[in-house]
């Protein structure tokens, strides 16, 4: 028998396809790479055309430097880049691209046509490459700059294509990517055409104007400018006042030398800077730029280039913390001026940060141990949890009482032998035979609402909505509007009546009866944010919306509950099918055995 080699060098096309797995995750990542290239080429006007969620077509047209005849085929080879030459260049990257990986990766999984002309040339060039197979290079008439179109992404990798989401969902991702560029480069004209509709036509302007155009005019009035520097580092941009904080991080933008990045350390510093001006669960709006000598950062640690490593991250932490505090203070947002120094308060913040992340890991670990692999599959039988049966028996018998007599007041009197205490406006403590139970009020209510809502949706029932005397008109950001279109029929079923007024403007005419008065538009925006950002892939559409509704409409940490309300909450919780876990799988109830308590007192 002939021995075959097990290890061999991959054919180039295959190697590119594999690399594409890292660089090209979905249409949005293609858009990102192409815009980066256009910006690196020095363009000051960029047009983007998207069709079919980017699955059909992504085209980016720039007026940059173009590519020459000799370079064009090479640009599609792996590690072909004009941007760095030596290892030393890698230590100080001034351009957005540097790996020479984007074009070959994209070209290996799509049908690409590129038309380009350098300023000095009379004629331009066209070149096609189809699933990595290069076509011929031809001369043609062309404008200065480069136009690149990507058709039928993943046409030759059906498995990947299957993973792409609906057009709407992919468009949302593309918009997130594009908005980052819109904000980072206010001095570039951008035009976006989505399925033949022009959505953005942004003219060169300053950052403030651009922010208003991208975030919406209401936000504009509530933005305050930040500008801070220490040796070698400058940070500037805009902060949103606490009152425009969102329920998600979707309006947080951070750039490093023009490159959008994410950084936990900095984000934590910003939140600390806002301090308690933010309500629980609120996320500040910001758009901030870091200018720093490239030698102090390593941008080459992640294939999508979104994560970077700073050599002086402590300095950055303080710079952001103080910068945010100072800026907010100077606009009268924070009452407390005392902490704008580098003293103990900051020290504490750093330590807390540390402890918090440790705790998180611990929690996650415990969660994995105790939570059923999927709450829908592994049915938690009543009484099979940690808590003694006493609870259930007790409440079930009461249930019968209610139905027999139909007297709610009677029920309340009878219940008074179980007592509840609210602790830190967050937890409900109660006594059970074997010890102590602690219930998280927010998660408990979320569980109740989640089950009610999914049940309603699965039974194909429609809940009656309370009509509003003054219908609420709101103009949604475009990406929010796309989400809204996705989910509005289901919203209708749970009691909303929302009509499109014109463009992205909608009118809320009815709300589910249990939504607090005055919070109509807030709840809707919160739900959209949640829907957009939830990563709960095991949810179907109904469950996702039910979860959004449940989390956003549930009583919150900080809400004061009286004894009767706590009774009702606990009653309803135990009437649920899965009382022990919140819709996202977090424990709702924690119990502590008497033995355990006794041990602690030894």
């Amino acid at each position: 028998m002939q021995k075959s080699n097990k290890v061999h060098i991959l054919p180039e096309i295959l190697a590119n396809k594999i690399a594409a797995g890292e660089v090209v995750e979905r249409p949005a990542s293609v858009v990102k790479e192409l815009i980066e290239n256009a910006i690196d080429a020095g363009a000051n006007a960029i047009q983007i055309y998207i069709a079919g969620g980017g699955k059909k077509l992504i085209q980016v047209v720039d007026n940059g430097c173009g590519i020459g005849e000799n370079d064009l085929p090479i640009a599609f080879e792996r590690h072909a880049t004009s941007k760095i030459r030596s290892e030393k260049d890698l230590e100080a990257i001034h351009s957005l691209g540097f790996r020479g990986e984007a074009l070959p990766s994209i070209a290996s999984v799509a049908q690409v046509e590129i038309k380009t002309k350098e300023q000095s040339e009379k004629l331009g060039l066209v070149f096609t490459i189809d699933g990595g197979k290069k076509g011929a290079l031809r001369k043609t008439a062309a404008n200065r700059g480069t136009s690149i179109s990507i058709r039928n992404l993943f046409f030759n990798t059906p498995a990947r294509r299957k993973f792409l989401k609906s057009d709407n969902a992919e468009n949302q991702q593309i918009l997130i990517v594009l908005k980052r560029f819109f904000l980072a480069y206010p001095d570039i004209d951008f035009q976006l055409t989505l399925d033949d509709k022009q959505l953005f036509s942004l003219k060169k302007t300053d950052l403030k104007e651009r922010l208003v155009e991208v975030f919406g005019a209401e936000q504009g009035e509530n933005l305050i400018e930040l500008d801070e520097r220490v040796a070698g580092i400058e940070i500037n941009g805009y902060l949103g006042k606490p009152q425009i904080a969102r329920r998600s991080r979707s309006q947080q933008h951070l750039y490093l030398n023009g490159r959008p990045i994410m950084d936990r350390n900095i984000s934590y510093a910003v939140y600390q800077g806002y301090g308690d001006t933010l309500d629980e669960g609120a996320h500040p709006v910001y758009c901030l730029f870091i200018e720093i000598d490239p030698a102090f950062v390593d941008v080459n640690i992640h294939p999508t280039k979104m994560q970077v490593r700073f050599s002086n991250d402590r300095t950055l932490f303080y710079l952001f913390l103080n910068g945010v505090k100072k800026t907010l203070n100077s606009h009268g947002v924070l009452a407390d001026l005392s902490s704008v120094n580098q003293g103990s308060a900051i020290q504490k913040a750093v330590i807390e940060n540390h402890e918090q992340s440790e705790n998180e890991v611990k929690k996650e670990f415990e969660l994995k141990k105790t939570k059923p692999s999927h709450f829908n599959l592994t049915k938690v039988k009543k009484g099979s949890g940690q808590i003694s049966l006493a609870y259930f028996n007790h409440h079930e018998s009461e249930q019968e009482n209610v139905q027999a007599s139909g007297q709610q007041s009677l029920l309340e009197e009878e219940k008074s032998d179980v007592r509840f205490w609210q602790v830190h406006k967050k937890y409900i403590f109660s006594e059970i035979k074997s010890g102590l139970v602690i219930i998280d009020q927010h998660l408990a209510h979320a569980r109740i609402l989640f089950e009610k809502t999914t049940k309603l949706l699965n039974d194909q029932r429609t809940s009656g909505g309370q009509k509003l005397l003054f219908p609420q008109k709101i103009t949604l950001a475009l990406d929010d509007f796309l989400v809204f279109k996705d989910i509005y029929q289901v919203l209708n079923q749970i009691g909303f009546t929302i009509n499109v007024f014109s463009g992205n403007t909608i009118i809320i005419e009815e709300m589910p009866a249990d939504v607090k008065i005055g919070r109509e538009s807030q709840i809707l925006l919160d739900m959209i944010d949640y829907y957009k950002n939830t990563s709960q892939t095991s949810f179907n559409l109904n469950e996702k919306i039910a979860a959004a509704y449940a989390f956003k409409n549930a009583i919150k940490t900080g809400d004061i509950l009286n004894e009767v309300q706590m009774h009702n909450l606990v009653d309803q919780l135990f009437a649920c099918e899965y009382p022990f876990y919140s819709p996202s799988g977090k424990p709702v109830i924690v119990s502590m055995e008497l033995d355990e308590l006794a041990r602690r007192f030894k």
Partner: protein
């Protein structure tokens, strides 16, 4: 500062303002009341920054001056004393000594510099309203205000001063109340202002049953001059929604029903409604009203028939029972009239004899979509 005063007078004056003290505040000084002695007059001021109330009484002043004192503590001390003369003095270190026949009490006060100043309401915009009517109008409106700070305008009552009438309007976006007093002259003033419910509550509490009420308006404040007390309130400077537009002028259906029967029937049936939505369904047919409720989650059900006067085509409408009960409770007459066009639009509820009363009143309720 030093004075002596009768316990009863001191207690009464203090009790008037005590509820203005916020129960929770980040500004500690607001837990205090400001006591001022001048011209043999003792005045006490409490404020929560939005509302300021002053009360006063006679005293015998030995030394004029002022000091701020923890309000609730002071009230607790004075309350427990029998009606005797109390001597009250404060030294330059703000140490307070209260003496009575029973003994001595020492506590510390604070300087008045920290205490917010009383808003200046210096204006010739003045109107007068008959006390009894004002009290009724307040009672009929404040219940329908919103308690949510997200829409600040709706947390207060809209007061409209016009040439020949005075209106008060409140709404939370689900229901609305409009009360008109036609027995009124605006003295040439015509103005809309939104007054916080909390202020109106205090006003109603301090209003005597007869006489006339003087109200003074400045740009940002309103001042109610009441017997032995004055209440200042900030005006909510927010646009009020155009409420008149949402009150339909014409109706195709009209119902007259006994108020007490209607209320108790709704109350009973609503016990069986879903506790979250409190939805009750009303079916109107020839001289009969059927009220029903159903709780799908728990399987409860109820329905009742109430006689009424109704001579139009049948209609099904649903309401939140709590709103319905709230509204019906705030109408005094024996019979109420309900008018409606269809199941999607608002219903108006009035006392049956609305026209010839001193106050003309309309209550509006938005329905719930029927599933």
């Amino acid at each position: 500062m030093k004075f002596s005063v009768s316990r009863d007078n001191f207690f009464k004056a203090l009790q008037k303002v005590i509820n203005v003290i916020p129960s929770k505040s980040t500004v500690d000084i607001l837990y205090n009341v400001l006591i001022t002695i001048k011209n043999n007059k003792l005045s006490i001021i409490a404020t929560d920054l939005e509302i300021t109330q002053i009360s006063w009484t006679e005293c015998e002043a030995m030394e004029e001056g002022d000091i701020t004192v923890p309000g609730k503590l002071l009230l607790d001390i004075i309350r427990e004393l029998p009606n005797v003369n109390i001597s009250f003095s404060a030294d330059s270190n703000h140490k307070i000594l209260i003496k009575s026949d029973h003994g001595e009490y020492k506590l510390s006060g604070e300087d008045k510099t920290e205490f917010p100043s009383v808003p200046l309401v210096d204006s010739d915009q003045q109107v007068e309203i008959e006390n009894g009517l004002l009290k009724t109008m307040i009672e009929k409106t404040i219940f329908a205000c919103s308690t949510d700070h997200f829409r600040p305008a709706l947390t207060g009552v809209l007061c409209q001063i016009m040439e020949n009438e005075y209106r008060m309007v409140s709404t939370d976006g689900h229901r609305l109340v409009k009360v008109i007093n036609k027995n009124f002259s605006g003295n040439g003033i015509s103005r809309d202002l939104i007054i916080p419910t909390k202020a109106l509550n205090f006003v109603a509490r301090n209003l005597p049953d007869s006489g006339n009420q003087k109200i003074i308006l400045s740009e940002n404040h309103i001042l109610f001059e009441l017997p032995d007390t004055k209440i200042f309130s900030r005006i909510i400077n927010e646009p009020y929604p155009d409420y008149d537009r949402v009150i339909p002028a014409e109706f195709s259906k009209e119902l007259v029903i006994d108020r007490a029967e209607f209320i108790s029937s709704v109350k009973r049936v609503s016990l069986f409604s879903n506790p979250i939505t409190s939805q009750v369904k009303i079916v109107l047919s020839q001289n009969s009203m059927n009220i029903s409720a159903q709780d799908i989650d728990f399987g409860g059900e109820a329905n009742e028939n109430v006689p009424c006067k109704y001579e139009f085509e049948n209609i099904d409408i649903a309401y939140n029972a709590n709103y319905l009960i709230d509204i019906l409770r705030h109408i005094d007459e024996e019979k109420v009239k309900l008018t409606v066009n269809d199941a999607d639009g608002p219903a108006l509820i009035f006392p049956e004899n609305n026209e010839n009363a001193d106050l003309n009143m309309v209550m509006l309720i938005m329905p719930v979509r029927i599933n």
